[in-house]
């Protein structure tokens, strides 16, 4: 996966806020071109993280949605024009999803826990969040294993099967996934508990999670990008 990039030294909260703000600009802008800028930025970042398929794929999808929206809004029919709004919302959410993928791919789960704890978010919120994030790669690999097993059984999972027998397909995908997840969750909890996740002592960290010079530079770059977006947008209005 995005293995070695996880060792970047940027503070998780700085990244998080920047990503939220940049995707947020997509919602506040009015012209098509400018609202695509965050999408392009994220696509470039994804490619930088060597995830070309996702980056280019999402960018292509956004461009298609943009074109569809333009087409819909130029139609005289009111309902079709409103559809354009829906497509726009969809596209902007897609941008946020890209931002989320970038955040997830560059952040180590334990760094996030530590950062959140430092700003006093209670453990009962932080630990479940961390476990959820931890499960994502697990579910990905479990899914592909389940798909293989079903192919062998002669019950291929795919678009065709989904259209003809949606409930059965869902059942065949979910049942083993749930069984495996329950088992993994048990084993994971046992592993964490025996390594003191519930210990009464205050947690420490092997590396310090502080805002450093690199983070300030990132903030400056992000601020510049947002300012540029706002300025270009108001100029084009």
């Amino acid at each position: 996966m995005y293995a070695d990039i996880r060792n970047t030294e940027y503070h998780p909260l700085v990244k998080f806020i920047l990503i939220v703000v940049i995707s947020g600009t997509a919602f506040t802008t009015t012209s098509y071109a400018v609202s695509l800028i965050p999408c392009v930025i994220f696509a470039l970042l994804l490619c930088f993280m060597k995830n070309y398929r996702l980056g280019m794929g999402m960018l292509a999808a956004s461009l298609l949605l943009c074109a569809a929206q333009a087409l819909a809004e130029s139609s005289p029919n009111e309902y079709v024009a409103t559809l354009g709004q829906v497509l726009e919302a969809f596209r902007k959410i897609l941008t946020m999803v890209m931002g989320a993928v970038i955040f997830y791919g560059t952040t180590e789960t334990t760094d996030l826990i530590k950062a959140l704890e430092r700003i006093r978010i209670p453990r009962c919120v932080v630990v479940p969040l961390a476990v959820t994030l931890r499960f994502i790669p697990t579910i990905q690999s479990e899914f592909s294993a389940i798909r293989d097993a079903m192919n062998i059984r002669g019950i291929p999972i795919g678009a065709k099967g989904f259209l003809t027998h949606p409930l059965k397909q869902t059942e065949y995908m979910l049942v083993p996934l749930l069984m495996r997840s329950a088992r993994i969750a048990d084993e994971l909890s046992a592993s964490c508990i025996t390594r003191g996740i519930n210990s009464a002592r205050a947690k420490t960290s092997y590396k310090s999670i502080t805002v450093s010079a690199r983070d300030y530079m990132l903030i400056a770059a992000g601020a510049a990008v947002c300012a540029a977006i706002v300025i270009i947008d108001s100029a084009l209005r």
């Binding site: 996966m1 293995a3 070695d4 996880r6 060792n7 180590e108 789960t109 334990t110 760094d111 931890r134 790669p137 697990t138 690999s141 479990e142 294993a145 389940i146 293989d148 097993a149 079903m150 192919n151 062998i152 059984r153 002669g154 019950i155 059942e171 065949y172 049942v175 083993p176 069984m179 495996r180 088992r183 993994i184 084993e187 994971l188 909890s189 046992a190 592993s191 964490c192 508990i193 025996t194 390594r195 003191g196 996740i197 519930n198 210990s199 009464a200 002592r201 205050a202 947690k203 420490t204 960290s205 092997y206 590396k207 310090s208």
Partner: protein, 500 residues
Amino acid sequence: MITFKDVSFKAAGCEDYILRNINLKIQEGSCVVFTGKSGCGKTTLTRCINGLIPDVYPGEMSGEMIINGTPARGALLWNFEPICGSVFQDPRSQFFTTNTTSEVAFAMENYGVCTHEINRRIDEVMTRMDIDNLRGRSVFKLSSGEKQKVALASAVALKPKVLVLDEPSSNLDIQSTLALGGMIKRLKAEGYTIIVSEHRLYYLRDVADKIIYIDKGKIEWEAAREEISKLTPARLAAHGLRSLKLKDFARKGSADNRADNRANLPSEVRLDVSGVAFKYGRGAQLLKNITFSALGGEIIGIIGANGKGKTTLLRVLSGLMEPQAGSISMNGVPLPAKKRIKASYFVMQDADYQLYAESVSEEVTLGCPHSELLERKRDTILSNMGIKMLESRHPGSLSGGQKQRVVIAAMLVKDVAVLLLDEPTSGLDYESMKMVSGILKLQSQQGKIICIISHDYEFLNETCTRILHLDNGEVVKDFNMSEDNCLHSILFQEEGRYVC
């Protein structure tokens, strides 16, 4: 160090006691091995020691446990001081973080060790366990042996008094297992008290100070250091245990799986694999030039070190993947992937991935068109495998060995010509292993081609008629098992390393 006085445990919601009146004493700095058949209670015993019982796995626990001088149980064992470090069976679901360095640091961080000390200990442990090259790597990209080393490092870095290992050699090949044994010996020399719950005993023969045999929750017998070497293979087999010496696995097996008998079998099916090459995306070339032929009635064991492409080969043969070069044909007719899927059945390593239905009987006939004949066939197969009484149970509620039987029953119902199995006996005790072996031999007598990947020497020796050794993407050795070919001498190379 650890004393159990009349400890009994009954899991919440269960009627039977899993542990009954356990009394034992474990000396500080010793290595004790708990062994026994599947379901005997050895894992439960280790869970009492590391405190998962009764607080994480609820139930009624009676009796007294004294660890490190004070009576303690449950949360007291991990709430304040790290008394026990644990390593579990499946390294995949042991890692909480995704990076090896933070994984080793994880336990120390939870117990509030200061930053400087954490980093110092990480360096120390990684050097001592020889895993400096694994620093800062993603845990998803490690081999099983490497994962197990990182898991062990994470437990050892905490400097606990006791190390508890639950079937640590499950996913390891023979060479890695022996390396694990060496590691345990070194840790024992440093003063750790080590407790191992295991089926495979051969790598612990020189390390264990005591072997404790548990049956149905009671300690049946204990063997101290001097007596361990006197345990004969016959006695071990009688207790359902695996052999203590790798050489014992190579005893000349019964005549029915020998190559000379194959001449009497119907060999209608012929599989030809020629020049198969495969790699994942931009990864390494796992399979370079695989060429061999198989006839109906053969049981072929595929061996080789971990990560050398054995599973990949079976995935290609089963039709899940198409090779980038080479061809696979049956009886002279080339088979594309879709046809291979129909002609073969692949039993993968984890039974959990392969169980979907609500009941065992539904599970076993999944994917087959319904008919009277099918139902009768299903009933016969279930009875033969000894799981007829489980037919209305949900597959998720079964034990590991039972799940494996269900998966194999599903394979038998499909009735295809080529059977492919990946580590079918991993984690199974002696009896279950013999059962699987018996079933496969029966199938081969019906003229099927069977290919098995395994690290289980005993199983290979018992079952296979032919062995293929995979290394460097090619078949480097291909020999028939016969009276003269001893599996052990062929697999043990001159440099003192095992081939698989």
